[in-house]
Subunit: 417 residues, 2 copies
């Protein structure tokens, strides 16, 4: 079963925004078992929209279009579909009522341009929009089951999940089972090499998605039998886990690496303090992105200046003078100071040269020292990274969390603090 995506809007062809809808839809359709072979964008131009719809409708079983359903004169999608089908536009009264209600809830009255959003090609199936004004619709366009959704991502996603996926799922006779492995610590090409031959061995499809510095591996199995698809995906995922190792594959599903480390802390009932220099607050930010951080996260000291390292974290002036701020000794003193000052069971410290300036022969850009202090002692390590400032900061934050994970798992602190 083949599928295509057409995204309509001059904001896309002018590069005013990155087309995240396209990737989201391509992933969703692939996961449902479709082969997506075209992901096109066109500007708000009648003849080019019609040409795109005609071309993609002829060649694919499913066509999903986004954009051009709004109230302005640039929004031409509905009109173009009606022209192609040779039908008139018809006002959908139920949709009109919903638009009116929504406008009233926000203290506005229905304008002619808003009412236009309830005009749909005669015979189209209405797809309600629970999160916005413009409804979507579905029609048969030549070979394709064609779906028209708004361009606003959270509206589009809800409508795809609620209406499009249930409609097209039966077209794929196979059952599809997907397992997502979350990895950190290897490059994409190393993960790729490590899993060479796995697709053929288990009859699955592997997909990779880099969310720097994490790599997600998607294991997709298709089978006439749901149970067989499940077993195939499970066997392939287990084999991938064994090949890459437990230090690299830290979990399955949608949990990110910082969150997974947070969960380990909650399980152990440990609280965490952080002292960060070159990462400038990034570790704390990553740990508090998701709700629930207060269960384990006491706080952090971003000790960008040496004065703060001394005054707040209590790093001895002699350590800074003798070894410098980027050193194993300073990292240890920072972690121990953070554990004490923040009254946490465990503390992580990071100090390094993020660059692009500030490097020396002895301490080049990319050199980073880490330490983790527990009630049973302090572990330290150093690493060197290539890359831009942002890459070095992100890699350092993740590597610091990886050291923390190791210390937690090795139970260094079994007696607690």
């Amino acid at each position: 079963m083949s599928a295509a995506i057409l995204c309509i809007g001059t904001e896309l062809t002018r590069g005013e925004l990155v087309n995240t809808n396209a990737a989201w839809l391509a992933d969703a359709l692939t996961t449902l078992g479709f082969e997506v072979t075209a992901v096109d964008c066109t500007d708000d131009d009648r003849s080019r929209i019609q040409e795109g719809l005609r071309r993609l409708g002829e060649r694919h079983d499913v066509l999903v279009c986004t954009g051009g359903l709004g109230p302005t004169t640039d929004d031409l999608t509905t009109e173009c579909v009606a022209t192609l089908l040779g039908v008139s536009l018809e006002r959908d009264l139920a949709s009109l009522e919903k638009i009116r209600e929504r406008m009233e809830r926000f203290g506005r009255t229905l304008s002619a341009s808003n009412a236009k959003q309830a005009d749909l090609p005669r015979g189209a199936r209405v797809l309600p929009n629970p999160r916005g004004t413009a409804p979507g619709f579905a029609v048969k366009l030549q070979r394709a089951h064609a779906f028209f959704l708004p361009g606003v991502p959270h509206e589009m996603e809800a409508m795809f999940d609620n209406h499009v996926a249930p409609s097209i799922q039966p077209l794929v006779s196979d059952h599809v089972r997907q397992i997502v492995l979350k990895t950190f610590g290897m490059t994409e090409s190393a993960v790729n090499d490590g899993l060479a031959g796995l697709e053929a061995e288990h009859g699955v499809l592997l997909g990779y998605r880099a969310r720097f510095p994490e790599i997600e591996v998607k294991v997709l199995a298709r089978n006439r039998s749901a149970r067989a698809a499940e077993a195939q995906a499970r066997a392939a995922a287990d084999s991938a886990r064994a090949r890459l190792g437990p230090d690299v594959v830290y979990g399955e599903g949608s949990v990110g690496f910082p969150e997974s480390v947070g969960r380990l802390l909650v399980e152990r009932r440990w609280t965490l303090g952080v002292a960060e220099s070159c990462t400038g607050g990034l570790v704390s930010e990553l740990l508090t992105e998701r709700s629930g951080a207060s269960e384990f996260f006491a706080g952090a000291v971003v000790s960008y200046s040496n004065e703060v390292k001394e005054r707040v974290l209590g790093v001895p002036a002699a350590v800074l003078a003798d070894h410098g701020s980027v050193s194993a000794q300073t990292a240890r003193a920072m972690a121990e100071g953070a554990r004490r000052v923040l009254a946490a069971s465990v503390a992580l410290s990071i100090t390094g040269v993020a660059g692009p300036t500030g490097g020396t022969l002895e301490k080049p850009v990319g050199l980073v020292h880490f330490a983790v202090a527990t009630g049973n002692g302090t572990s330290a390590r150093q690493l060197s990274y290539p890359g831009s400032r942002q890459q070095i900061q992100r890699l350092s934050a993740f590597a610091g969390l990886a050291l923390l994970r190791k210390v937690i798992q090795e139970g260094h602190n079994e007696q607690g603090s």
Copy 2:
């Protein structure tokens, strides 16, 4: 002059990565004065690649393609171009030598699949790749000047700037002048409404790019005379600045809002300390993303728990007990404590309910208190935001920096600290 973009790769049609190249190229071509009307992706399939090249080559003056130039068997672009042109592939010896040198520098020997990257359609112009292995090339494909670049963003971008832009610039007879206004504090639709009619009034094109919560406004003028284009763009930009106001338009060019506040601090020779709760380190992270933060940034205390607010920042237990951690009183005490503890000239504090849990009737999700402490006193404000946890955190971080900017500009601290 019309232009099209074709991105080749199954990783795009499967949604394994978001196509940032497409937006980058569309923006670059628009800025050069081209009208981009198609931005298409196809999977690694010979017949579909050829169909896309033929269709887009027929209809556009310029065609830029990315991807499919690598060493693997999936990389089919070069072969497809040769087939379409009816020419053979020819090994480019200069490119081969560069690939060999590069491999040797990384301690590897040249393989047959690497050597394949030096095979180009006979008669093609070679586009050297200063940042990677695969060279690009240029050919005439029907109507289009067609350019083939690798899919790796930083390689592609350098090659576009070095080779493609200089080649195609002369095709556009107009001179193009662009001014980018950076704004924070209004929604995209409010900015849009505020600038209604400006395009017609000044004969310019306006483009918007949202980098949440900032909105960039791109003012683009085209004219036969370079001086007239410059004057047109300047007049339109000044008019836009006047309409939106100096609190909203904080700068021009590529500087982000956090960086612009950092620069103000450096100008005043003030050092900054930060105390953050609900933003969890994000303010510090934003300030240290760019190099040079050590000129003004002393450090931060991420006081996620009340214990850290008391112990490290010295917020009185009575203030926390009487007013709660999300209150103007706590925000003031946090800012004053951070200024003292971090020994900074000025300190910013943020405490709020980022959600999605933890809200109450009295203190709902989205309520955030801010304070800025200087040697001359402390300013506080409170705001309420809608949105997800991530949106509330990001908006709060930016709003805190906006309050800081206001205090700096009003010179509250003229006597310093």
